[in-house]
Structures are given as structure tokens and as C-alpha cells.
């Protein structure tokens, strides 16, 4: 099976699912499961082969035009296996949600199409093919998102994605100009370190920022993730956003950083400096972290909250990738995995809740744990990882990122990184407290029940993987070392169970087992003592008052009011900026329309001739 054949087959399966979906909604959705499992397993085989060092030729092209070349690199495999895994896991949710869409068959088809697009992006070495598949993913998403709650979300998604795509396109043109070929690696290598390289880096960074939802190009992400159909949000956040990380790696690792500060300031102090471009991206990443955290704290919709947490985690990825070096890069790559798994699991858990309750607003939910305990555990494990607490995967990556930040003495960025890390406790706890815990609200009491087995299955697999990445990270870190070797970065020093950072050793397995011992001791203490008397949730301390209304005893609205008060005046700055920009664009459009597209065609033709003449002036 070559890459080309895989992509073509995926596209065909997409069409099959469309026609199946026309025939029967649920069968169409089942096809998406089969297709994405098939793709995941095929990519798994590729990964297996590439790790074995066998030389099966995945790159052959037979059916597509010859310029559509593919190559299976470690980097591509790394991303592809992660993303297809997320797709495969999430696809199990599709059959349970088809009832809710207006066009279920279209949803199924686009779901598979975006999977195909992702494969194309990660496996091609041709810049134009990359661009084509990049756009393909954007377009598939564009039509899926409005099937959820809001049409406007799709528009803003499209606007920002287009900005990213155009930036990518210009970067491609520059590389083509310099290298004379559309080959990705040759193009990047030829511009690296030159003046054009700076432009390419800026353009690729814009593209990465817009895809990753990083500050200041983040406004689309919460709207899109929060309003997309429930099964598509985890895909967006766990998989498609990672396209941005892929582009960011191309821009930040493959291209040499510019702006040598060490030679400027190095003589004044013993401290070492990074390159200016690294600082610039890291600062934007740090702002993304702070901004995402502050916004996530004040959301009421659980999905929007998780979306802002994706923004914030995108910031971590950017900070890590921009610092680079073996620790930083390994931290960034590991964070991509950890966040993809955690955010997919958390979104799925919230999706499972809103499937039965019809809402994901925290102020309208409460006490779901009593009817959906497994969903709760999945969410709990996911947020422990998201907050970077051991023994889950997020801790490993945050630890590596902290090591990198400290090792380079980035004080102000450290403020943001630590702020985001503590702030994540705040926001991830909020759905836990308001949505799953607290009083069991009567309006959802009868509706809520344990989700069907096929919804639990992917959630449980994801949770187990989150624990696995936190307890035994070294197998995956070994693979990351291969990726880094391909990128020309030194390998991270790992032992059998230990990870060596620049200023300390981490033994995740030991941490996890010691935690287990602690819990065991606590459990023994608990179990030998007298058994407690079970009382209801409404039998709580109320200063002697009799209260029979669950809502009155449930604290979920404006959870962090005291801290929100401190910054709520300043949050709309970027939104306002884009609003103003939008108005300007609309004004400009009106003006263009007024001058050029008048009722008289001859005027229009005149202006077109003038403009073409102006553009061709030099060449004529």
C-alpha cells in the first residue's frame, strides 16, 4: 500500500460513506469508523516498517500526476499516526450523533475527506501538493463546522485559515523562486539563513499561528471548536490544530533562526542568548498561553473552555519549538501528543454529556457523575494530563518545557509558562466541579445514563494511553529521538525508565508507583476505619436552613468571579481590533464596488485594463 493509494482509497471511502449515509444515516457513520480505523492501521504498518528499517517503497506514484510526490519521513509518520489515531478514536462517536445533523451524509464524507487531506499534508514532499491538501482540510472543516451550533464560527474559521493558507502560498512562491523546485526539503534548505529565509519564516509562522490558534490569530479557534458538532471538536482540537504545529516545526526547526543576539550582547554578560526570531516566537507563544488561560477561566460553555485551553496549549507548543534544542524540541513534540490525547478525551467526555443533556453550558448542568461515572473518570484523567500533573503524559512534556525554559534563563517567558500551568488547574477544575460534581440537577436526572459501549471504548482507550504516556514515556521519547535525528537535533538522553534534563533526572515510573503506594496507604487507612453513613447530596450544611431546590445549592455560575473581576475590562482588545479590521475591510469593499463595479460595464473594463497595464509595466 503506497501513500498515494491510501489517500485515494480514503477519498473513495469518503464517497462510499456519503452514499451509504444517503441510504441509512447510521451505516454511513459506521463507514467512517471503518475508514479511519483502516487508515490508522495502515499508517501503523508504515510506522512499524520505518522503525524496523525495512525499505518498502511507500513513495511510488502511479495514478496521480507525477509531480504529486510523497515521502514517508519520521516527522510525517509522527504526526500522521497521532492524528489518524485521534480520527479513529473519535469516529466511534459518529454513529451516535448523526441524528443531530441536518446533512449527516455530508458530515460523514467530509470527516473522511479531512482525514485524507491530513495524510496528504504529512506525507508529501512537494510544496504545491502540501498546499493543496492543506486547503483541502480547511475546506472540509469549513462545511462541517456549520453543522454544529453556529454558522458565523465557520466564517471566522475560514477567514483565519485563508490568511494562513495565503501566507503558506507566498512562502512557497519564495522558496520556489530561490530553489527552483517545489521540493519541500530542498526549498527549505535553500532559503535557510538567507534574507528570503526570514520572509519564509515569517510567512510560515503566520500560517502556523493561524492554524494553531496562537495569539494574535486565535479568535477563530474558540468559536469553531466550541460550536462545531460534538464529535468534530475533538478532531479539530486533537488533530487538525496539529497541522499548525507541523508547519511551525518546518518554520522554526528546519529554518535556521535569524537575528544573532549573542554576538551583540554576549560580551556584556555571562548569560547566553537565543536568536531574535526565537525570542519573538516564544514571546508570542507566551502571550498565547496567558491569553488562553485568562479566557478559559471565564468561559461558561465547557467546550469553549476546552477550546481556549487548546489555545493556551498551542502556546506551550510554540514556546517549546521556538526554544528548540533537544530538550525543548522533545518537550514540544511530546506536548503535541499529550495535548492531542488529553484534549480529545476531554472533548469526547463533554460530548457524551451533552448528547444526553443537550447542553454543554456549565451553568445548566450539575452532578453528572452520579449517572455517568466512567465519563467522569475519563474527563478527570484528561484534565490531570492537561494541567501537567503526574502521573499523566502532560507532566512529562511540561517538565521538559520547564527544563528548556529554565536552562535558557527566559524569565518573562517563564512567568507566562508558570502562570499558564497553575492557571490550567483553575480552568480544568471548573467543568469538573460545575458539570460533573455538585448537586444533581433534577432536569437531567432521568435523561443521564451511562453512554453505550462503543462511546465508552474510545474514551477508555484514550485514558489508558494518557496514563501510559505519563508512566512509560520512554518508548515514545525514543521515537521522538528518531524524529529529532531526522531534523538534525541532538537526541534527548533517556535511560530505561529515566529522562535526563539539563538540570535534573526524572523517573516517571517511579513517580507513578510512589503515587500508587501513597494511594494504597491512604486506602488502607480509609478502609480499616469505621464505615461512614451514607447521606444524600441535599443533606448538607445550610446553617440549619431547609432548602429543597438543587439549583440553589449548586455553585456553577461565575465560578472565578473574584479573579475575573480583575481583568474583565481588558479582554476584548483583540476582538475589538478584528471587529474594526472587519469594518475597514467592508468599507474598502464598498469603495471598490463604488468605483469599479458600477452599472456601466465600460468603466469596469477601463479600470481592469489600467490595473493590468500597471501590473505588467515592468515586464513589457
Amino acid at each position: 500500500m503506497t501513500v498515494e493509494l491510501l489517500i485515494i482509497l480514503t477519498l473513495v471511502l469518503g464517497l462510499v460513506s456519503y452514499f451509504m449515509g444517503r441510504f441509512n444515516k447510521v451505516y454511513g457513520a459506521v463507514v467512517t469508523i471503518i475508514a479511519s480505523m483502516f487508515v490508522f492501521i495502515s499508517v501503523g504498518y508504515m510506522a512499524n516498517d520505518i522503525l524496523d528499517g525495512s525499505t518498502f517503497n511507500y513513495n511510488a506514484v502511479k495514478y496521480l500526476p507525477v509531480f504529486a510526490t510523497f515521502t514517508v519521513s519520521y516527522l510525517g509518520i509522527f504526526f500522521a499516526i497521532l492524528v489518524t489515531f485521534v480520527f479513529a478514536m473519535v469516529s466511534f462517536f459518529n454513529p451516535f450523533f448523526v441524528e443531530k445533523y441536518k446533512y449527516p451524509a455530508v458530515y460523514n464524507m467530509l470527516y473522511i475527506f479531512s482525514l485524507a487531506g491530513v495524510l496528504g499534508v504529512f506525507f508529501t514532499d512537494n510544496l504545491m501538493v502540501l498546499f493543496f491538501f492543506f486547503e483541502f482540510v480547511v475546506w472540509s472543516g469549513l462545511f462541517i463546522i456549520p453543522l454544529g451550533k453556529s454558522k458565523k464560527a465557520a466564517v471566522s474559521y475560514y477567514a483565519f485559515s485563508t490568511a494562513g493558507s495565503f501566507a503558506l502560498l507566498y512562502a512557497i512562491f519564495i522558496m520556489r523562486d530561490v530553489a527552483g523546485t517545489y521540493n519541500l526539503y530542498a526549498g527549505l534548505a535553500s532559503v535557510s539563513g538567507t534574507t528570503q529565509g526570514t520572509y519564509v519564516m515569517i510567512l510560515l509562522s503566520i500560517s502556523a499561528f493561524s492554524k494553531l490558534g496562537a495569539f494574535p490569530l486565535h479568535t477563530w479557534l474558540p468559536a469553531a471548536h466550541g460550536n462545531a458538532p460534538h464529535p468534530f471538536s475533538p478532531v479539530l482540537s486533537g488533530a487538525l490544530v496539529k497541522l499548525g504545529a507541523f508547519v511551525a516545526i518546518l518554520a522554526l526547526v528546519k529554518l535556521a533562526p535569524v537575528g544573532d543576539l549573542q554576538s551583540v550582547f554576549g560580551s556584556y554578560t555571562d548569560a547566553t542568548f537565543l536568536y531574535a526570531s526565537q525570542y519573538a516566537v516564544a514571546i508570542l507563544g507566551a502571550m498565547t498561553i496567558v491569553f488562553g488561560t485568562l479566557m478559559a477561566i471565564r468561559q461558561d460553555d465547557a467546550k469553549k473552555l476546552l477550546a481556549y485551553s487548546s489555545v493556551s496549549n498551542g502556546g506551550y507548543i510554540l514556546v517549546a519549538l521556538s526554544i528548540g534544542g533537544s530538550v525543548g524540541l522533545a518537550g514540544g513534540l511530546y506536548h503535541i501528543i499529550a495535548h492531542a490525547l488529553a484534549s480529545a478525551a476531554a472533548f469526547l467526555a463533554i460530548g457524551a454529556v451533552s448528547r444526553v443533556t443537550g447542553t454543554s453550558k456549565m451553568s445548566e448542568l450539575g452532578g453528572m457523575i452520579h449517572k455517568m461515572p466512567i465519563t467522569y473518570m475519563v474527563y478527570l484523567i484528561a484534565i490531570i494530563s492537561m494541567a501537567g500533573i503526574p502521573p499523566m503524559g502532560g507532566f512529562i512534556s511540561k517538565w521538559l518545557i520547564f527544563q528548556a525554559v529554565i536552562d535558557n534563563g527566559l524569565i518573562l517567558i517563564a512567568v507566562a509558562v508558570f502562570f499558564g500551568s497553575i492557571g490550567s488547574f483553575l480552568y480544568v477544575f471548573r467543568p469538573l466541579a460545575a458539570l460533573f460534581l455538585g448537586q444533581e440537577l433534577p432536569q437531567h436526572k432521568d435523561k443521564a445514563k451511562i453512554p453505550p459501549f462503543f462511546m465508552l471504548l474510545p474514551m477508555i482507550i484514550l485514558s489508558l494511553l494518557i496514563v501510559y504516556t505519563g508512566v512509560f514515556p520512554n518508548y515514545i521519547l525514543g521515537f521522538i529521538n528518531d524524529v529529532m535525528a531526522e531534523l538534525g537535533v541532538d537526541a534527548l538522553v533517556i535511560g530505561k525508565y529515566t529522562i535526563q534534563g539539563p538540570n535534573g533526572v526524572l523517573h516517571p515510573t517511579l513517580v507513578a508507583s510512589v503515587f500508587g503506594v501513597g494511594v494504597l496507604i491512604a486506602f488502607i487507612i480509609f478502609i480499616v476505619l469505621k464505615k461512614s453513613r451514607k447521606v444524600g447530596l441535599m443533606d448538607t450544611y445550610t446553617a440549619g436552613n431547609f432548602i429543597y431546590t438543587e439549583e440553589l445549592m449548586h455553585y456553577s455560575l461565575d465560578f472565578y468571579a473574584p479573579i475575573e473581576r480583575l481583568y474583565e475590562k481588558y479582554i476584548n482588545i483583540t476582538e475589538d481590533f478584528y471587529k474594526k479590521l472587519e469594518n475597514k475591510v467592508v468599507d474598502f469593499g464598498r469603495m471598490v464596488k463604488y468605483f469599479f463595479f458600477t452599472n456601466k460595464p465600460e468603466v469596469t473594463v477601463f479600470w481592469i485594463v489600467v490595473i493590468i497595464g500597471f501590473l505588467l509595466w515592468g515586464d513589457l
Binding site: D539, Y541, F546
Partner: protein, 189 residues
Amino acid sequence: MLSTKFSPMSKEEVDRKWWEIGDFFRRNSLWMLMYCTGCCAIELPPAMTSAYDMERLGMGPMATPRQADVLLVTGYLSLKTLRRLIYTYEQMSEPKYVVGFGSCTINGGIYHDSHAVINQLNKYVPVDVFVAGCMPNTESVMNGFIDLMDLIKNKKANGWKDYHERNDWYKANQKAALGEVKIHDEFHE
């Protein structure tokens, strides 16, 4: 599972031993929930602060009934507060003790003929120690606490068990005073 070969104690005896050990801790660390309904409550601040310092007996104020061991009913109880008092008492974790302050809790005191207050507290909740006086002075309050500790030591502070055993009787008295406890007030309709 205890080996019977080396310890011939029966299960009851073992339980009793544990209970005695528990009583030692319980009487040396009495946490109070103050139900300050009447004027007797004014005696508590001097008992707590530097004049008499009840912390040296291991006593201290607590915020909620769940955490507390001893419920202090300081004075007269109107029917409205009685309902809350019973609710609060039932929320406390066992073993729990009650101390009644002043003549109001013993026989109604100067309010004995009021239509709004109850006269005898131990008809509604089991009271372990009464501190007589109107109001009792602080020494006698402290004395009452030491009496409670002695009662615990001698296993005589069994009001909470009595509340289980004669629950019907207490409930009947409560009902007679309050009527059916069904709350329909302006907040809950």
C-alpha cells in the same frame, strides 16, 4: 482477624478496649458547635479567650455540625429555632454530645410560660450536661465541660445512643411541639 491463641479477648472486649481508647481522644478534644440562641451565649467569649482559655482543655469552636462533637445550646429555644436545632443535631457525626445552658433549657426559666419557646430541651434532643443558672457564670460553664469529660470517661454520656433507641419518643415530642415538619416557605414554591 485477630489470632485467638495469643489474645483470649472476645470481640466485644476488643471493641470495648478500642472504644475506651477512642473515648480518651474524644474527651480531650471536644469541638463545639455553638448554637447561640439565647443570652447565655455571652458566657462563651470569656470561656474561650484568655480569661479562662478553654483551648487548654482541647476544646475549640468549629464551623459546621459535621466537624463538631458537642452541641452547645445556649439558652431559650423558640419553636422556629428548635426545628433548625434538630436538623443540625442530626447532621452531626457520632458520637455526639449536647450541653444545655441556663435554666431556659432545663425548665423554661423566665420564659416558662411563653407560647413561643420550648421549656424542656431534653424532651426533643438528648442532653448530656445541663449548666444551671440564669445566666450561669463562666466558672460553671467550664465546670460543665469538665463534667462532660468525666461522663465520657465513665461512659455515661450516652445521649446519642438514647436518641437512636427512643427515637420514636423524641420524634413524637418534636412533632407535638412543631407539627409535621414540612417546609413550604416563600423560597421554595
